[in-house]
């Protein structure tokens, strides 16, 4: 089940690891994504440092992992087709896969709660 942070990142457990990405709302707010700088496999995710950088037409913006752990995979499709972020941000355009001891950062909302919360903003 996908969970969302209040700042718009999502995470979903796949077996022993998590996939993380950016919500549809956050991607729409950025506009057309033109490039994604992905981290190295093996790097630590979570904490104060961004894990990736997204370039949109008007802004370069940092992506912060909503979970602390080690990056075990990056979505290389995004390097070739950054527009996938706009067309499928919560499915095909996952950004990282992370091995974690369930160290979540911040409050997590299920999808319904997230979308309700966004609507109420």
């Amino acid at each position: 089940m996908k969970m969302f942070t209040k700042s718009g990142e999502w995470l979903e457990k796949f077996g022993s690891h998590y996939r993380v990405g950016l919500s549809r709302e956050n991607v729409d707010a950025l506009g057309e994504i033109t490039f994604i700088e992905l981290p190295k496999i093996g790097a630590l995710a979570g904490g104060e440092s961004p894990s990736a950088v997204l370039e949109a037409v008007k802004a370069a913006t940092d992506f912060y992992s909503p979970i602390i752990g080690r990056i075990i995979s990056v979505n290389t499709l995004l390097s070739q087709t950054p527009g996938l972020m706009n067309s499928s941000p919560e499915d095909e355009a996952w950004i990282l896969e992370i091995a974690s001891e369930d160290e979540f950062l911040g409050t997590l909302l299920d999808e319904k709660a997230w979308r309700t919360w966004m609507t109420d903003l």
Partner: protein, 251 residues
């Protein structure tokens, strides 16, 4: 760029203050977007022939010659929960108002009613791009603006061309990458006859008014100055950084 980076870092610390800078370029210089691949759209070897720097913001290259450049940094929370487009529109409001005060029709491209054109293209030359939030003055794109956002800070800078150096742009950009001369403009082309100081004053006053802030003249602290010089030498003057950025570039 080094000064902006240091000021942004200062802003992110407890007690950090938002900033607004206005500056010019000497000598003229080519700036690349953060992820721009210099082989796309520029003549081969051009970076070895002209001063160049890589920006922290995205987008395409700009030849900075006769222009006024602004940069500013605010805490993310200053604009509430505003997204990129909303903050961009709020911040750029000071530009639009300044151009209106000078008697020109100024608006964002998205409000211009222009049809039949696709917004959102990324181009090797910044001024050649067509984006919904481009500022059109008398129907033509005036300058370019871009943001860099992290968890805490919104940084934005922009180029305001006082005049356009077409001979240099033709020498820098491949023909297919050149902006369309019919679609961009400068203050000179618009008939601006005021001084640079008048322009700076108008921009500052409008920023202050529109964002509801008081601007106070200030200078870099000795520590900031020292850091900026170090950053300039070790990063922004480093050829490898300028040519390759952090190692990942748009193809």
């Amino acid at each position: 760029m080094a000064v902006d980076e240091v000021l942004t870092e200062s802003l992110a610390r407890p007690g950090g203050r938002p900033f607004f800078r206005l500056y010019a370029w000497e000598p003229a210089c080519l700036s690349l977007g953060r992820f721009q691949n210099p082989i796309a759209g520029l003549y081969d070897g051009i970076l070895e022939q002209v001063p160049s720097v890589r920006r922290p913001t995205g987008g395409g290259a700009i030849w900075h010659s006769d222009e006024l450049t602004y940069s500013l940094g605010f805490p993310s929370g200053f604009f509430g929960n505003s997204d990129v487009k909303s903050t961009y529109e709020k911040i750029c409001g000071f530009l639009v108002e300044t151009w209106k005060e000078l008697g020109w029709v100024a608006l964002f491209a998205k409000d211009s009613g222009i049809t039949g054109q696709a917004f959102g293209s990324v181009t090797p030359a910044c001024f050649a791009g067509k984006e919904a939030y481009d500022i059109l003055v008398e129907g033509k794109k005036l300058g370019g603006n871009a943001q860099r956002r992290d968890r805490h800070i919104i940084f934005q800078h922009g180029s305001i061309p006082l005049s356009l150096d077409w001979p240099s742009m033709v020498a820098l950009f491949l023909p297919a990458a050149l902006p369309n001369v019919q679609q961009i403009t400068s203050l000179l082309d618009l008939g601006y006859v005021g001084s640079r100081a008048d322009l700076q004053s108008a921009l500052s006053n409008n920023l202050s008014r529109i964002l509801g802030i008081d601007l106070e003249p200030d200078t870099l602290t000795p520590h900031e100055l020292s850091l900026a010089k170090e950053r300039e030498q070790l990063k922004f003057s480093d050829r490898d950084w300028t040519l390759r950025g952090a190692g990942h570039l748009r193809s």
